[in-house]
Symmetry: C2
Amino acid sequence: MTPQPNPERRSERARRAVLDAVFEVARAKGYGKTTIEAIAATAGVGKPTVYRWWPSKGAIALDAVNDRIGDSMDFPDTGDIVADLTAQLTAVAAMLTGDIGALYRGIIAEAQSDPDLAAALRATFLEPRIRRCVGRLDTAVAAGQLRADLPTRTMVDILYAPVYYRILLGAGPEETLRSPLLVETVLEGLRPS
Amino acid sequence: MTPQPNPERRSERARRAVLDAVFEVARAKGYGKTTIEAIAATAGVGKPTVYRWWPSKGAIALDAVNDRIGDSMDFPDTGDIVADLTAQLTAVAAMLTGDIGALYRGIIAEAQSDPDLAAALRATFLEPRIRRCVGRLDTAVAAGQLRADLPTRTMVDILYAPVYYRILLGAGPEETLRSPLLVETVLEGLRPS
């Protein structure tokens, strides 16, 4: 039996090829010099195909990062908030210094002058993750492990900010490795009194 | 007496005109769409003059931001570290949401793909300010107002990170205004035990 051509499957294959291509091109040229042309060529699809699905390079990169991370950064719940936060923030810091991080830094950079990309970054990437983190912190507040007088949403900001700050302002991996100490310190401010 | 032409003074006038022009063009078009051409035209100087002094748009913007801020963000020392940190961080947050902030966000964005600009940002802008902050924190540690078991350099990261995080990842001015609560919370983790 000859397989019937399946346009949906072909589309999905092209989509995956583009998402892989943005990593490949960025690794070779740096994200700043990555172009839609190069992404399309590497993926073996036409530029119109790319533009049919994504409005910009940043939008492709955001999709690629979201897809690659999936739920691998999800919040563990071992019952011990200090261990869980340390594990999760260490994973985020490691992610931000690798291939995914190079793309992610590029997306944040472009978002500074592209409001649509900034909105997509918040809606599809940050907000779902922040909500999951808030959920984990709420559990810890309910268990008396964290202070109850500060919105857990604000706690998320305090916890994640140093990781972003170091990556975006040029502190290298060496600094990032100190993040467990950071977490401990920040957590002292979040303990119930 | 007819004033003699003074090349040095003329140079300084042109330099100032360029530094003012980058603010003016960015205000009108947004930093992302600001070009060296537009900056030169607005400043009334030739493009070669601009390139003689600065290698890139980001380098002009960095110079302009540094010049505009001057020592206005310097660290107060009233003897009360909580009051001083709150005052200084509130000033930084306000600065980052205005005209200077728009340029500064653009510089950080470009620095993600321009290593020379990233190095200049650290050397001419961040490091001198971090050193002054470390100096103020060292005084507070010596006075027993802050814990002595954490490098003051790490404290700087923890304190400033949330401000950058909110600005770069799209939390608006409303969020930024909560920074005093942030400072208080973070400081609880920095108190001597």
